[in-house]
């Protein structure tokens, strides 16, 4: 692939999906897009780039984005966020929303569905406490390919063995040879829709809980900040924001801040559960005072 073609693809991916592809990912682009070309009968990467340059073939652009995104996910990935969901977030929201009896959850990069179905299985176990409640789980992703798989809810034997307790497999799945399908009941709890995190999101309304895990790691800092600010707008006043295990807001945004008592949970900065500025950041004191703090 020529330098110019690679630069074109990097710009396209960055602009359309947020994906920030460093120079050393060139081999990865060559191999994944090479595969895409073979599948579609395109005779090489330069022909692919030529077809993309006019910017009119949106389906081909999507195929390139899909080929370059990482969709890896697991049921109950990293476990802790799901324990926090059950033990901290849900009890809090059951009290806070007792009047409206509604609960809205958004998995903002749901991939093949495991994250949303894990939450649905937890909610199903608490069904007795949710009688009369309207609970919504929205799962979105930029890739229609992964959404299709999420909708089918069919997983391989390997996929159902990583992270998913066997009792949950027994309770919530139907076996079909060496494939396992999530039960109709759990699937019906999750609504799946295409959505690009870089695009406006106000039509989705407000959410009590947003999971946005293991997608921002592929973005550069300005894009991460922009997406976090856009998601913060969708949080209810005391909504909870959950990131991936290796992700943070520190040094990226101040619109979403760590929760004051639970590591791994985040809040909109004005929330009463937000950590106050400087807490947990001892090095803050050594920072040069800003104009506003001097005036204040």
């Amino acid at each position: 692939m020529t330098e110019a073609d690679f630069d074109f693809l990097r710009a396209l991916l960055h602009q359309r999906s947020g994906l920030s592809l460093s120079q050393d990912k060139r081999y990865l682009a060559e191999s994944r897009l090479g595969m895409l070309c073979r599948r579609r009968g395109i005779d090489g990467l330069s022909t692919l780039v030529q077809a993309l340059r006019p910017g009119t073939d949106l389906l081909l652009e999507n195929a390139v984005i899909e080929a370059m995104t990482t969709n890896e996910t697991l049921f109950f990935r990293d476990r802790t966020p799901f324990d926090l969901f059950r033990d901290v977030i849900l009890p809090e929201k059951l009290t806070a929303n007792a009047a409206s009896r509604t609960l809205r959850i958004w998995c903002a990069a749901v991939s093949t569905g495991q994250e949303a179905y894990s939450l649905a299985m937890i909610l199903d176990e608490m069904a007795a406490r949710l009688v009369g409640w309207k609970v919504e789980i929205l799962g979105t992703d930029i890739s229609s390919e992964v959404l299709e798989k999420a909708r089918a809810g069919i997983y391989s034997q390997f996929e159902v063995q990583r992270g998913l307790p066997i009792q949950m497999l027994l309770r919530h799945f139907r076996q079909d040879g060496d494939k396992w399908q999530v039960s109709e009941r759990i699937r019906a709890m999750v609504e799946l829709k295409p959505h690009n995190l870089l695009l406006p999101n106000s039509h989705f309304g407000q959410f009590d809980i947003i999971f946005c895990r293991n997608v921002l790691i592929y973005f550069d800092v300005p894009t991460k900040a922009k997406v976090m600010a856009a998601l913060a707008q969708r949080l209810t006043a005391d909504g909870v924001f959950v990131l991936g295990a290796a992700e943070t807001v520190i040094g990226i945004t101040t619109t979403i801040v760590p929760d004051k008592s639970h590591r791994g949970l985040y809040r909109e900065s004005r929330s009463s559960n937000a950590q106050s500025a400087g807490l947990g950041l001892p090095f803050d004191r050594t920072r040069t005072p800003t104009l506003s703090s001097v005036r204040g």
Binding site: Q157, Q161, R162, I166, L170
Partner: protein, 121 residues
């Protein structure tokens, strides 16, 4: 160091399982059928048992039921690891007192995930 008994009539599987579990910091003993596994448990009750289903002499299911009757036999975490991959077998094993269930073929990640699941990691 936690102690895990690997029960499988296949020497190859025992070797693979041993390598994975030693990597997860377990001390390992092996048994090639259920009867020998019971003897091993009489000598020293393990923290964990990785258990095949189909074996000569005493199969995994009978081993599990016998183990659970033994003094101290409720304590070990028992993880089935078997090619009996249909839901009926899984339900039967769980009913008999298994803690987790691995469907073969397996890899290190699956073993780690399941052992984590039952609190062994």
């Amino acid at each position: 160091m936690k102690y895990c008994l690997v029960v499988d009539d296949s020497a190859v599987i025992r070797k693979v399982a041993r390598r994975i579990l030693e990597g997860l910091q377990f001390r390992i003993a092996e048994a090639e059928d259920g009867a020998r596994a019971i003897d091993a448990c009489k000598g020293e009750m393990p923290d964990a048992v990785l258990l095949d289903w189909n074996m000569p002499i005493m199969d995994g299911y009978d081993f599990l039921r016998t183990l659970r009757q033994m003094p101290g036999g409720k304590r070990p975490k028992v993880v089935f690891c078997t090619t009996e991959n249909d839901i009926a077998h899984i339900a039967r094993a769980m009913h008999a007192g298994a803690d987790e269930y691995i469907m073969k073929p397996f890899d290190k990640e699956i073993v780690a995930s399941k052992f984590h699941q039952v609190g062994l990691l």
